[in-house]
């Protein structure tokens, strides 16, 4: 099953002009004010991704997002403009998340988020309707593999093969995790 809306959203991200090349060039030359422009334009998108990838823990998502932007600043000279800046940033986010997911601290945070669903992302999602909050909480409670596959495919619009490459797993594993995620989410929403 594909999600045409998410896919088109992803396509629009990768083809959009997004952050202007001039701002990126100034930031690459060390202009921190230009980088702030980049941050203002891209942080809501990156933060949403961080929040979902990190299982809805707002503090952790904030820390992850900050890490992503600091990495982006240091690695700006490696951005050649061959893809959209937002895609490059997106890849940095997923990589940073995967790195942090391997740490013990991250595992502990995940256990807590599953055991205490009431704490999941409530602050960040306060303005959304109830059903969306339920869905966000259900996504946050998913096992990590299923959650990453679901968020990257259904929300971010990545193809199975792209996700498999990013996560370093087989494409079949991504499909299986997605199916598992969908079933778990439906169960959670039917409760």
């Amino acid at each position: 099953m594909t999600n045409p809306s998410a896919a088109s959203h992803h396509r629009s991200l990768t083809s959009a002009t997004g952050t202007s090349p001039d701002v990126i060039r100034r930031a690459q030359a060390g202009d921190a004010d230009a980088f702030e422009v980049i941050y203002r334009e891209n942080s809501p998108r990156v933060f949403a991704l961080c929040l979902r990838l990190s299982g809805g823990a707002r503090d952790e998502a904030t820390e992850l997002m900050q890490d992503v932007f600091i990495r982006a600043w240091r690695g700006l000279t490696m951005f050649r403009g061959e893809s959209a800046f937002s895609s490059w940033l997106h890849r940095l986010t997923v990589n940073a998340m995967l790195e942090s997911a391997r740490s013990e601290k991250r595992r502990m945070a995940r256990v807590m988020s599953i055991e205490d669903p009431e704490s999941i992302g409530a602050e960040g999602l306060r303005a959304t309707p109830d059903l969306q909050v339920d869905l966000e909480r259900a996504i946050a409670s998913l096992p990590e593999g299923a959650r990453l596959a679901f968020v990257l495919h259904e929300i971010e619009g990545f193809q199975h093969g792209e996700i498999a490459m990013q996560l370093g797993v087989a494409e079949g594993t991504v499909r299986a995790q997605l199916h598992r995620a969908r079933k778990l989410l439906i169960q959670a929403l039917e409760r």
């Binding site: 099953m1 999600n3 809306s5 998410a6 959203h9 930031a27 690459q28 030359a29 060390g30 921190a32 980088f35 702030e36 941050y39 942080s43 809501p44 998108r45 990156v46 933060f47 949403a48 929040l51 707002r58 904030t62 820390e63 992850l64 997002m65 900050q66 890490d67 932007f69 600091i70 990495r71 600043w73 240091r74 690695g75 700006l76 000279t77 940073a96 790195e99 942090s100 391997r102 740490s103 960040g124 999602l125 959304t128 059903l131 969306q132 869905l135 966000e136 259904e154 929300i155 969908r182 079933k183 989410l185 439906i186 929403l189």
Partner: protein, 197 residues
């Protein structure tokens, strides 16, 4: 095979997912921390992340350096015991060696170590040059083992250096770096002597 009811539910789920916001505002003060961090460096400079991966943490690097030193010790033994046809010097480890005088304590700080590091490098370079000029006195197997052993010791030095960059006050890492350099010099000296015997 997905049954129709399940497919319907998946479609409903998709419809709901499409309504989720793609953007969520981060905390208002999040930029300040980023700004203070990026003011310290310029694009292109190396960064290990505020949340270091486990392989970037000093303790992991220290453990890696210990492992490398251990491996290099085994390699050193292999090098010095290799040329049985020429001579087989008894391998004496540092702990087995008779202590004619108490061992002098190594540098306690990175600053102290920096002052002796140049001497280490200079001596190692001199010994390497001697060894290079006399390499025809050693068997090719010994030379290959020596090179591999030196590569491992150098890797241990690099790892200990990296770990120290992240944790400059770590005495254990300074000791490890000191040990690695000593081991390198010891290997070079003894291999040079072996070639002359």
């Amino acid at each position: 095979m997905i049954d129709p009811t399940e497919e319907e539910k998946f479609a409903e789920l998709n419809a709901l997912v499409r309504q989720l916001p793609r953007e969520i505002d981060p905390p208002a003060d999040a930029w300040m921390s980023i700004r203070s961090e990026i003011d310290k460096t310029r694009p292109g400079e190396s960064y290990t992340g505020t949340r270091r991966a486990i392989w970037q943490r000093p303790m992991f690097l220290a453990a890696a350096a210990v492992a490398l030193v251990a491996v290099s010790s085994i390699m050193t033994a292999a090098v010095l015991g290799w040329d049985a046809g020429i001579t087989r010097p008894r391998i004496v480890t540092a702990s087995q060696r008779p202590q004619s005088k108490p061992q002098e304590p190594g540098p306690a700080t990175l600053a102290e170590f920096a002052s002796v590091e140049n001497d280490y490098i200079s001596t190692a370079n001199q010994l390497s040059a001697v060894l290079e000029s006399e390499s025809n006195t050693l068997s090719p197997e010994t030379v290959a083992k020596l090179k591999e052993s030196l590569r491992i010791i150098d890797a241990a030095i690099i790892e200990a250096r990296r770990a120290l960059a992240a944790d400059p006050g770590n005495r254990a890492l300074i000791d490890m770096l000191n040990t690695s350099y000593n081991q390198k010099l010891d290997l070079l000296r003894r291999t040079t002597e072996m070639g002359r015997s």
